[in-house]
Structure formats: structure tokens, C-alpha cells
């Protein structure tokens, strides 16, 4: 029987965003002035490398955004799971009793255990799952090495396939610029297997295939090695209640992505509309809008978020019946957090758009449209909005990493996502107390650090290239 799909609000919005992005790609692909900056972006090796990393994060996040109930019928609704959960079932289900270090086979703390002769002894109890397949603990190192080797081998095979096909596909595409090369290429399939690794001779104007290929190799290895190892061990240890930290870190990806993207998505309509209106109409409209954003801006952001989240908590406690499950409740809070973060962050974009609209409205083509009697609404939609889109795009991309980072701070002040939601902020927040333990529990913090760092760094590097490509001031400066 088909499992019953469950649409959470953030799921719907996330998929809406995906649709919009795809539509935009289609739209931009047909227009030269939009296509060219993106081509410039993807000629940069750094951007391609960052995009591959971001792509993996997004893929995991999207897989984690298809929810359904695992139960069979109405009487047994079961848990709410995501597609991603079912893909990593062993990770999710292999719960230990408490802390265990990465690759450990025993718990981290000694426990009193009853001996056969009736006495008790303090020993490190065996883990239920981590390394449970080993008959002799001395083999652990070899087992890890062997499993890693298998993972690497799988990765290489997969990569040879993908990179090889990429090379073939690229070479078999007729490139009108070099007909001579095309002639030479025909029939030499074997020679072009893996040709992607070779830097093309003019690497300024080409998509950096070699970067893509190498990044894929690294990622395949990371994914397959960790997949193989995590079936047998807890590669990043377990937390206080014995949950696999690697699983938590992976689940947190979705939270980070939702906050980073939906926040800007919900604020965009208001920011664009108001910014453009303020700049185009000037006069009292401008005054009102400026007043609005100065007022909102002058409230310290964290305090506004705190106040709103506290109010939301009170509301949810009073209307607990409206939320049928904890996951829906947590999702509502996540969405609300996006909205309130959006309210605090739209002002910067609005101010920039106002400034740009003030400039554009004086240009000849706008003046001409006004003289022809085109309605203000049409002028704004046809002439102003498309011409400020580069600012919007740059802001969206630049804001993303800041929002992911902000989540950690909000979680610390207890006004972040729901404590039951997996997020890096929550991981750090609980790991904070673990650092004071003796001996310290360092793996939760390190895991959150590595994942967050990877996502934010990739986003920062990518947004740098995007900004350089779209900012007209920088155009032509190389």
C-alpha cells in the first residue's frame, strides 16, 4: 500500500522554490543578457567546485523534504518519515544507549554490570550496533581499512563511469569553433574516456570540466566511504541518548537550507514591491516606506526575533490542539522563524532597491513610457523590476550563508528552531555542555562544525563569484 504523503509547509515552499528556480533557468537560458553572467559564473573553477558541494547539500535537503507517514492505515499512523530517512534507515535505527566515541565499540562511560557470579563490575559496555559484527576487537583497524578500501574502490568505479561518460558526451558534441578537432575526435572514443581531466588549452572561456571531475571524485569517495563505514560503525559517534551524530548532522542540512532560502523567499515580494514603489513614486509613498523600514530596522534584530518567538510559544501553548503532531508543530515554528527573520532582513534589500529605482526612473526609456501613457504598474513591472533583479539575486546569494550562521546563535538563545528539529545550532547548543564533561565529548561539536563550515564556505565562495559576475560596477575589470 502506498504510504500517505504528508506535506509540511516548509516542504511545499521549498519545492515551490525549486520550481521557480527551474523556471528561471529556462527563462534565463533564452535571454542573452541573463545567460552571459551565469556563463561567466560557471567558467570559474571555484564556482563550479562550490556549486558541486552545494548541489550535494541541496540534494540531501530535498530528499529530506518529501515526508510521509510510515504507518499502514488510519489506526496505525506510524512515524512521519522523509524519503531521506528511508534511505539511511540503518543510521536512524541503530540507537545506542548513550555517548560513544567515533568508531568506538564500547560506550564512552563505564557502567556497573552484573557479573555471572553475582558480583558487579565497572566496565565499558559493548555497543549494540557499533562494530557489533566483529568477532575479535583486534581486527577493528583492519576492518575499518578494508571497508574504506571498498568504499574507495566503489567510488572510483562510479567515478570512472560518470567522468568517462561526461568526457564522451562533451567530445561527441560538435563544437563549431574547432571543426578540425571534431574530425580528429571521431572514432577515438577510448582516447576521450576521461578526457575531462585534461585542462582545455584555453581555460578562460570554457566550463572547467576538470574541476567538476575532480570534485566528483572527492565527493564520491566521501559519500561512499562514509556510507560503507556508517553501516558498521558510528563514524561520528553517538550523542547522549545514543543517536548517531552523523545522522543528526545530515538531517540538519535541511534545516539550514530551509532557513537560508525560505527566509529570503518570503521577504522578496515585500522588499521588491516596496523598494521599487518607493523609488518610482517618490513623495509620500517614499516617506511612508522609508519610515516603515527605518522603524523596523531600528529594533535590534535579535530582540525582535526573541519577542516574536516568545509570543509564538505562548500562542502554541494556548492552541496546542491545532497542531496534530510534534513534527508539524516544529515545522510551523521553523516557518515562522523564516518569516520573522525575513521581516528583520528585508530592509537592507528594500533600501538598495529604492536607490536603484530612483536612478532608473530618470532614464530615457522610462520617461518615454511615461510620455506614452503607460500605466505606472506596467512601467514598474516591465522596466524597473527586471532591471533591479541583479541586486535581488546578489542579495539572495549573499544572505544565505549569514542566515545559516545566524541559526546557531538563535539556537543558543533558545529562540531558534524547535528543540526537536535537527539543526546544527541545536547540536552546538547541546554540545556546549558536553565540552565541560570530563573526559570531553568533542564529536557532536566537531560534526556540526565540519558540516556547517562546508556549507557556508561553499555558499560564500559561490556568492563571491556570482556577485562579481552580476555587479555592473565590477564588469570588465576582470
Amino acid at each position: 500500500m502506498m504510504p500517505e504523503l504528508l506535506f509540511l509547509w516548509t516542504d511545499l515552499l521549498l519545492w515551490l522554490l525549486v520550481m521557480l528556480t527551474l523556471l528561471f533557468i529556462r527563462y534565463a537560458g533564452k535571454r542573452r543578457h541573463l545567460r552571459e553572467p551565469w556563463q561567466r559564473v560557471f567558467r570559474s573553477g571555484m564556482a563550479v567546485g562550490a556549486a558541486v558541494v552545494l548541489g550535494v547539500f541541496i540534494l540531501i535537503g530535498l530528499l529530506d523534504s518529501i515526508h510521509f507517514r510510515s504507518g499502514d492505515d488510519a489506526t496505525n499512523p506510524g512515524e512521519v518519515l522523509s524519503l531521506f530517512d528511508t534511505m539511511v534507515t540503518p543510521l536512524r535505527e541503530q540507537q545506542e544507549k548513550s555517548y560513544s566515541a567515533p568508531f568506538a565499540t564500547t560506550l564512552y562511560a563505564r557502567e556497573m554490570v552484573m557479573q555471572e557470579d553475582g558480583g558487579t563490575e565497572r566496565i565499558y559496555p559493548q555497543l549494540k550496533y557499533g562494530g557489533a559484527h566483529l568477532t575479535d576487537l583486534g581486527e577493528k583497524r583492519w576492518d575499518i581499512l578494508l571497508t574504506t578500501a571498498i568504499g574507495v574502490a566503489q567510488a572510483i568505479v562510479l567515478w570512472l563511469l560518470v567522468a568517462g561518460l561526461l568526457g564522451l558526451w562533451r567530445r561527441s558534441k560538435p563544437s563549431p569553433s574547432s571543426p578540425r578537432e571534431r574530425v580528429r575526435v571521431r572514432g577515438e572514443f577510448a582516447a576521450h574516456w576521461l578526457s575531462v581531466l585534461r585542462r582545455s588549452s584555453d581555460n578562460t572561456n570554457r566550463f572547467p570540466w576538470h574541476v567538476l571531475a575532480w570534485m566528483l571524485l572527492i565527493l564520491f569517495m566521501l559519500i561512499l566511504v562514509s556510507a560503507n563505514l556508517s553501516l558498521k560503525y558510528h563514524i561520528l559517534g553517538t550523542d547522549k541518548v545514543g543517536e548517531d551524530v552523523f545522522y543528526q548532522a545530515l538531517k540538519s542540512i535541511r534545516t539550514g537550507l530551509v532557513l537560508g532560502t525560505l527566509t529570503t523567499l518570503v521577504m522578496l515580494p515585500a522588499a521588491i514591491l516596496m523598494g521599487v514603489m518607493a523609488g518610482y513614486f517618490r513623495g509620500w509613498v517614499d516617506d511612508v516606506i522609508q519610515y516603515l523600514y527605518t522603524t523596523l530596522n531600528s529594533i535590534p534584530g535579535v530582540l525582535l526575533i526573541a519577542a516574536s518567538v516568545l509570543m509564538l510559544q505562548v500562542y502554541m501553548d494556548n492552541n496546542a490542539a491545532d497542531f496534530s503532531s510534534t513534527i508539524e508543530r516544529a515545522d510551523m515554528r521553523l516557518l515562522f522563524l523564516c518569516i520573522i527573520l525575513g521581516v528583520t532582513s528585508w530592509t537592507g534589500l528594500c533600501r538598495m532597491l529604492r536607490g536603484e529605482a530612483l536612478k532608473i526612473r530618470e532614464l530615457d526609456y522610462v520617461q518615454a513610457s511615461q510620455a506614452f501613457g503607460v500605466s505606472s504598474f506596467r512601467i514598474m513591472m516591465r522596466h524597473l523590476v527586471p532591471n533591479v533583479m541583479h541586486i535581488v539575486l546578489i542579495t539572495v546569494v549573499l544572505d544565505f550563508s549569514g542566515l545559516v550562521l545566524a541559526e546557531a546563535v538563535l539556537a543558543y538563545i533558545n529562540i531558534g528552531v524547535d528543540p526537536s528539529t535537527n539543526s546544527w545550532g541545536n547540536m552546538i547548543n547541546s554540545a556546549r555542555l558536553e565540552m565541560a564533561r570530563e573526559p570531553i565529548v568533542w564529536w557532536s561539536l566537531s560534526a556540526a562544525f565540519v558540516f556547517m563550515f562546508a556549507l557556508v564556505l561553499a555558499a560564500n565562495l559561490f556568492s563571491d563569484v556570482v556577485r562579481d559576475a552580476f555587479d555592473p560596477r565590477l564588469r570588465g575589470k576582470g
Partner: protein
């Protein structure tokens, strides 16, 4: 100039009224004082009498905006809105939900906050400007490229990690200074770590930002003529370029000056510094709305002062800017 400042000050009034209204709506109408009382007393098993008692102890038992039970002008003044919200304009913060005088607390907690924020600002400025000038000095070399890469990497680390990592490394591992706490006797001992971490945490983002500011200046004509005069590159950089690039840097700093009073939220509570930042966090955690309201208002006032100071400082450092 004077008229400009006065006009700006007058312009601040409607903004503060707006802030006041927003906080009032958020704190009193979205959720009524009854909800607040219930939350403080526990959701279940709470009698209406207990709620009434809680409210009357904190003067939350009046009508929100219009009091029909009294006569005359008091119809408007003997209300929650007048007592709790409008009173903020006179900086009468009232007492917190657990009965302490907020104004007194703020005056006392301001100093530890400043003791961290001011050294961070000064040392940070010196360090960031030096680093970014060095990057610009070595522009288009590997030093610059890798410096920028390093800066982006440092930017990508959450401030939480700087604090936790620094606390662990310096306090717990090397045992150089106490991990957290505060004492007026040996205050510096407790302040060193938060200050260092505050400075280090800002290196990535700020250095990179300053570098772009300097790079914009470096292609100007006056730089070329300075070089043509035969000045050393060092002198061009550290005298001519620095002076001109200081305009955006200084005005940015001026805007942030008043907000220094608010302290830094996370690092203060991490290091147990009894400043305004940790005050705010404690208030949020114990859901003491009176304090949060006071801090929202204070923050907005300081922000607006910062805006006005920025405009004034523009005219001082850059004579080309005229205020009308």
C-alpha cells in the same frame, strides 16, 4: 548644521513611536497579560485568582488602552499602554517581572559590557586595518590571494565556534585565564579571553570588507600622482590611501558606537560577564517581557543616535558632504 541635527532629532520621534507601538502590539495584544501570567505560573493547574494576583502585583491588571472605570484624563493614562509603553519615552523602565528595578540594572550592567566592547572595537580596528592594508600592499600576489581565501574561510566559521573553541583552547587547555566569570578586582583577567575572541571572530569578514574599500581607492588619480612624486609605496598606502579610505570605515564605526552599550549577546553570557548582553539573554530565557521591552526600546534609541552621528561625522571627515 544645528537645524539639521534638530530636524533629525524630531524625525526620530515618529520612529520611536512606531517602535513603541510594535512592541506594545507584540507584547500585549497578540498575547494578553493573562497568557503571560499563565506561562509564568505554569500552564496547567492555575487558578484565576493566582492569575489576577500575578497581574496586579505587576500592574498588568489595567485595561490595555482605555480605562472606563476612572474619570477625566486618567481614562487614557491609567492604562497598560500609558504605564508600560509610553513611560519608556521618559526612560522610566519600571520594574522587571521579578520585581527588580530595570533602570538601575541597566546602569550597573552597562560598564562590564563597555569593558569588552570598547577594547574589541579599538583593537579590532587597528588589526583589521593593518591586515587589509597589507593584503592590498601585496595585491595580485599569492599573499593577497591566500589571504582572501583565509579570510573567507574565517568568515565561514560560526561565532559560536570561536567562543567555544577559544574558551576550550585558552581557558581549559592552556589554563592561562579563567574560563568564565567576572570580578571587579581582577577584571582584566576575565576580560582578556572575550576580547581576544571578539577580535579574532571579526578578522575574516571585516578584513575582507576593508580590503575592497582600500582597493577602490588604489586606482584613484591622487594615488597615481603620489606615486609619480616618487613617494614610497608604503607611504602611499599608509598615509594617502588610508586617510581617504577611513571615511567609510569611520562612519561605519560611528554608527555602531552607541550600540556598544548593548554589549554582545552570546559572548557575554558564555563568559559569565554581567553586562547588558547577558542581561538580555537571561530575560529572554526567563521570559521576562518587561526587560525585553526595555531593551528593545533602548536598542532603538541607540540605533537612531547612531544614524544621526553617522550623518554628522560624514560632514566632519568629508568636507564635500553638505547637510541641508
Amino acid at each position: 548644521m544645528m537645524t539639521y541635527i534638530i530636524r533629525r532629532l524630531l524625525y526620530a520621534i515618529p520612529i520611536l513611536i512606531g517602535v513603541n507601538l510594535i512592541t506594545f502590539v507584540l507584547f500585549f495584544t497578540v498575547n494578553t497579560p493573562d497568557d503571560m501570567a499563565r506561562m509564568h505560573l505554569g500552564m496547567k493547574r492555575v487558578t484565576p485568582e493566582a492569575i489576577e494576583k500575578w497581574k496586579s502585583e505587576r500592574h498588568y491588571d489595567k485595561p490595555l488602552v482605555y480605562n472606563n472605570s476612572v474619570h477625566g484624563f486618567a481614562k487614557l493614562t491609567d492604562t497598560i499602554f500609558a504605564e508600560k509603553s509610553l513611560a519608556l519615552f521618559a526612560f522610566r523602565f519600571g520594574s522587571s517581572d521579578n520585581g527588580r528595578d530595570i533602570g538601575h540594572d541597566i546602569r550597573q550592567r552597562m560598564w562590564p559590557s563597555l569593558a569588552i566592547a570598547v577594547p574589541v572595537l579599538i583593537m579590532g580596528m587597528l588589526l583589521y586595518i593593518t591586515l587589509s592594508l597589507l593584503l592590498v600592499f601585496f595585491r595580485a600576489t599569492y599573499v593577497d590571494t591566500w589571504g582572501v581565501v583565509l579570510a573567507v574561510m574565517m568568515m565561514s566559521i560560526s561565532s559560536m565556534f570561536y567562543i567555544i573553541g577559544g574558551q576550550f583552547l585558552i581557558g581549559k587547555f592552556l589554563h592561562l585565564v579563567p574560563i568564565s566569570g567576572f570580578d571587579t578586582e581582577d577584571a582584566w583577567k576575565f576580560l582578556v579571553l572575550p576580547v581576544i575572541i571578539g577580535v579574532v571572530g571579526g578578522i575574516g569578514g571585516t578584513t575582507r570588507f576593508y580590503r575592497t574599500l582600500f582597493l577602490e581607492e588604489i586606482h584613484r588619480d591622487y594615488v597615481r600622482s603620489a606615486r609619480a612624486k616618487g613617494l614610497s609605496e608604503m607611504r602611499v598606502m599608509f598615509v594617502h590611501v588610508l586617510k581617504n579610505a577611513m571615511i567609510p570605515i569611520l562612519t561605519g564605526v560611528v554608527a555602531a558606537l552607541p550600540l556598544l552599550f548593548m554589549g554582545s549577546l552570546v559572548s557575554e553570557s558564555f563568559f559569565g560577564i554581567p553586562g547588558l548582553g547577558s542581561y538580555t539573554i537571561d530575560a529572554i530565557n526567563s521570559q521576562d517581557f518587561a526587560i525585553v521591552r526595555a531593551m528593545v526600546f533602548l536598542g532603538s534609541v541607540l540605533y537612531i543616535i547612531g544614524l544621526i552621528l553617522t550623518d554628522i561625522s560624514y560632514t566632519i571627515v568629508d568636507p564635500r558632504v553638505r547637510l541641508q
